[in-house]
Symmetry: C2
Subunit: 340 residues, 2 copies
DNA sequence: ATGAAAGCGCTAACAC
DNA sequence: GTGTTAGCGCTTTCAT
């Protein structure tokens, strides 16, 4: 097992000292250009690679950001991560990604791993069942910056980046009214998942604000599997008193709506308006194209990261915790455009 | 700025030595249960966290796996990462995820970062424009294990996990023939992206094997934007000599096919068979449901990780480079089922 | 412009 | 069963 090349090896090869080599490789101003050049040359020749662990140990910190998300393979989160990565990269920071699998237990593990790693900052979106914030306090106690995003704990004072799920539901309802739709129904997602709960609540709040009827049939809860969704939507649309617009909690539900409507001979958007949620690529490929909500997840990631790097620049650590709200945008397409 | 608690602090508080503390925290057998107990107690009390950098420096390695993918926010890759994460987690390994953004330049940066981090192993899926493998050799030179997946360089001998894109195209063609389809066309994706190239080549090979005509119209290349796809598909299906089956290089194209066919009054699957690629969730929600290819990406991630941990267990490092092939599976649905 | 030396926090070989 | 000691590779203060 061949040992890695260290700055000591380079120093020896050039009859210099490790400190000179270290300085040269870090472009320290006191080292002559000539020396720098031969040292860098030798480093390449010996295939030298920095040992980050030694560096971090010595410097008492690392240029690493820890990111904790419930699930990495949900496009919303992976877009956020991609956004974070883009910015972090510009500042030469690395990111370590952990997933909590939406459990509190694993989330604690993630936090500990990242504290052990001595990361500069942790970006977190909380697991569905996270009930305590002791682990978050722990982060702050270890002088590690904390930024929460999307699913946050408001009891702990940190920077936050949020989606305004309420406001967008209001936008959606108002858009439908402008288009002359009167009887609006919401197809909700499973209420144990935070985002679906928020969307449902946002919808109900929007109805209230517009003094629209709040009867039980206005929210259909269980539309998560295809079969049940088909049954529920068929019932909904076959009834005497059928709605003239549906806001679904997720894009995939709109495909079923389109299908059922086609079967029942209900024209979209003339007789039924349809709105989805997430701006999945396919919503632009259906006929009619589907009005939906873009959450700007990539942008959210960038925002989170920028928040950290902005604070880093402010030597005056006044740092009053900021909350940045990302406004999702209603992408109006054919499925709700009956007035041209 | 409060300093972190170290094992030295614990030792001092208990009138013990750092080594005893270290041993106790690592459950070394020589330490009495009583001592272990009070040490662990104290560690919690002082909110001690291990410093991974010190540990890794001292031990000359880390329980960390580096993963390099072209893009993290592509569901295929994020599923793979989720699969890797699941297994790594069982072995108490951490993963550091890097994205090359599909450029060779950034890929080199990623490799260097991971070598600097002294990771135990690197899992990589190569960038589209990676032309050299010097950086891969570099990994091996640093005694870091290397496992390639999906997009690999065959000139370098390492463990590999691959998708059999050829075989699956053969399956698709044969399935169509069984269903009585005769004139099969392929809608290809951009040929500068590896997977689309492979799919197209796989398709052509399948035609050859079945002695089917190989004329130019059998592959439609540019179907990547909605407008062009619509035009091309409309032309394809309006012609006199139209195909009776289409294999698309990606699921999203099948939505356009469904739309165009509906407009032209072509019935699916009776008059036209349609196959997509990726088993995107929505392929199950359309009418008709779409036959597609599942690549088992999550499983691929698990396989990659298991390959590493299996080798780790074998003390006898015979380690002949293995290639594991994941066979994608044709998910037959309504869009190609005309014989019940 | 360069060198000497100490130390970051941890582990492990060697004592006792 | 516990203590002593050295050292992983790097940076940095202080000296020259």
């Amino acid at each position: 097992m061949k040992k890695r090349t260290t700055i000591y090896d380079i120093a020896k090869a050039l009859q210099l000292t490790p400190s000179t080599v270290s300085r040269a490789l870090n472009n320290h101003s006191n080292i002559s250009e000539a020396t720098k050049k031969i040292i860098k040359q030798k480093a390449i020749e010996l295939n030298y690679k920095l040992n980050t662990h030694a560096q971090n140990l010595r410097m008492g910190g690392s240029k690493t950001i820890g990111v904790i998300v419930p699930k990495i393979n949900i496009i919303f989160f992976s877009n956020i991560i991609a956004g974070i990565e883009e910015i972090a990269n510009q500042y030469q920071y690395n990111i370590i990604i952990c997933q909590s699998n939406d459990t509190y237990k694993k989330e604690i593990d993630c936090v500990n791993t990242l504290i052990n790693q001595n990361v500069a900052c942790i970006f977190i979106s909380l697991a569905a069942d996270t009930k305590s914030n002791e682990h978050l306090k722990d982060i702050l106690q270890h002088q590690i910056q904390l930024i929460q995003f999307d699913r946050v704990d408001n009891k702990i004072k940190t920077n936050k980046v949020l989606n305004d799920d309420d406001e967008i539901m209001l936008d959606a309802v108002e858009h439908l009214q402008t288009q002359g739709y009167q009887k609006i129904v919401h197809l909700a997602g499973p209420q144990n998942i935070g985002i679906y709960k928020t969307r449902k609540e946002g919808f109900e709040k929007a109805l209230l604000q517009h003094h629209l009827p709040q009867n039980k049939n206005v929210v259909i809860e269980d539309c998560y599997t295809k079969e049940i969704a088909t049954t529920n939507i068929t019932n909904l649309l076959s009834g005497n008193n059928r709605p003239d617009a549906i806001i679904a909690a997720a894009d995939f539900m709109t495909l079923t709506i389109l299908d059922v409507a086609r079967k029942l001979g209900i024209r979209i958007p003339e007789e039924l308006g349809v709105i989805g949620y997430s701006n999945e690529p396919y919503t632009e490929l259906t006929t009619p194209t589907i009005t939906t909500v873009d959450q700007f997840s990539f942008n959210m990631g960038q925002t989170v990261a920028n928040l950290f790097f902005q604070d880093l620049k402010n030597i005056s650590q006044t740092s009053i915790p900021k909350s940045i709200v990302i406004n999702p945008k209603l992408i109006v397409r054919a499925s709700t455009t009956r007035i041209k």
